[in-house]
């Protein structure tokens, strides 16, 4: 009986439909049964795996195939022991500020590609990037880990954001380029519209014809900004835009 009830509660939890009373009931059942804890664990992990499976390049591969493509997801395991410790730590620190999921695969430039919101992105050959798709208020999140990319972003609902290990560039309507020069800085150039480029506490609002290079003094990447940040149109360039939470 409790297993059936737990399954019902678990479904409601997964669907985001559980009431506080039902959440309390889940807790009670978890305390009472190792078998139910095991079931809860596998379903929680399934949720995480599903989220990650449909993120970034995995999602893109799935869309290009009529059936989900079994894409090998992790390079880290194969490379782990071979990495020099310092390199590993440096890469880790950069990686942690992105998704905890799939590390980016090195992808060739491959010419321009149109995203779901109509934006067009193009990466320099050899760049490493992940196309994360819609994230909360951000209509398209692109993670650029290495190399350079150009972005043509038309008007739409929500912000378009490019995250790098060294900062983030956010816009709602602009054409711009982002480059990670020698993997330790962030260069932004705008050819149309306005963007907000952020590096740590530093913010620059850049308009058409403007560019900015954030130089990294210490060899430590900044934390990425929340995807829910929107470009603060009309604000002073160095004013930090308010954080919003979904």
């Amino acid at each position: 009986m409790s297993a059936d009830r737990f399954e019902e509660l678990l479904s409601r939890w997964e669907n985001g439909a559980a009431t506080p009373q039902e959440l309390g009931e889940i807790e009670g059942l978890l305390r009472a049964s190792a078998e139910l804890r095991k079931n809860f664990l596998r379903r929680a992990l399934l949720e995480v795996d599903l989220h990650e499976t449909y993120s970034g390049e995995i999602a893109e591969a799935a869309r290009q195939s009529p059936r989900p493509t079994p894409v090998r997801r992790s390079r880290w395991g194969r490379l782990g022991v071979a990495w020099a410790a310092g390199v590993l730590l440096a890469v880790l620190v950069g990686t942690l500020f992105f998704m905890p999921g799939t590390p980016p695969a090195p992808l060739a430039g491959g010419g321009p590609r149109r995203l779901e919101d109509g934006s067009v992105v193009e990466f320099r050959p050899g760049s490493r990037f992940s196309l994360r798709g819609r994230r909360g208020d951000v209509r398209q999140l692109v993670e650029l880990h290495e190399g350079a990319g150009s972005f043509r972003v038309g008007q739409g609902t929500g912000a378009f954001q490019v995250k790098t290990p060294w900062g983030a560039v956010t816009t709602s309507d602009a054409d711009f380029e982002v480059e990670i020069p020698q993997a330790d800085g962030l260069a932004v150039r705008v050819s149309r519209g306005e963007v907000v480029a952020a590096h740590g506490e530093e913010r620059e609002m850049l308009s058409a014809g403007e560019g900015h290079v954030f130089e990294v003094v210490e060899q430590k990447p900044t934390r990425g900004e929340s995807p829910s940040e929107k470009p603060p149109r009309g604000e002073s360039p160095r004013k930090r835009p308010p954080k919003e939470k979904n």
Partner: protein, 176 residues
């Protein structure tokens, strides 16, 4: 354990740690934020010379504190388990083991299981997880009642969970 080993452990166990945080918050965005904090804490502790014998258990302990901090600072998310459930969820993860190679195998199995899912079910799953639509939004998009979407999604998840377990058992892995 050297700091570089801690970093390597963090990479290998990131999904297990993230899963723990997600299980407590049921909010993917919040879980990402908390996971970043946990990662920083782990690296800070490692830099201070902390050398955990059991990395995953140690990381989960740090994560527990970060989730509790998060609840205190933001208030518990309405869909999250009560803060009092942190202990029992921790227990579930401890019991589950969750070695890095098992977590890798889970992901691989899931991709294969998704390929076997009936088209309609897969489309619903894609709307939920790829397009990040709520069940209500999906219901509006496909013209179903909300409860029908809940039921269909639940069935798809059960099918996937059973399929993943079966594949793990076939491969000799732990299906927990």
């Amino acid at each position: 354990m050297k700091q570089s080993e801690v970093a390597k452990n963090l990479l290998e166990n990131r999904r297990a740690i993230f899963g723990f945080v997600y299980a407590l918050t049921r909010d993917f965005e919040a879980a990402e934020e908390i996971f970043q904090e946990v990662s920083l804490s782990i690296l800070d502790e490692a830099a201070r010379g902390t050398r955990p014998e059991n990395f995953l258990a140690w990381s989960r302990e740090l994560a527990r504190h970060r989730v509790a901090d998060f609840y205190r600072a933001r208030g518990r998310a309405p869909l999250a388990l009560p803060e009092s459930a942190i202990d029992v969820v921790s227990l579930a993860f401890v019991e589950g083991g969750l070695a890095p190679d098992v977590m890798q195998a889970r992901q691989k199995s899931l991709l294969e299981c998704l390929a076997e899912l009936p088209t309609r079910a897969r489309e619903l799953v894609e709307q939920r997880y790829r397009d990040r639509r709520s069940p209500g939004e999906i219901a509006a998009a496909v013209g179903w009642k909300l409860n029908a979407v809940h039921v269909a999604l639940s069935k798809a998840r059960r099918t996937l969970a059973d399929c993943v377990d079966a594949r793990l058992r076939l491969e000799g892995g732990d299906a927990s």
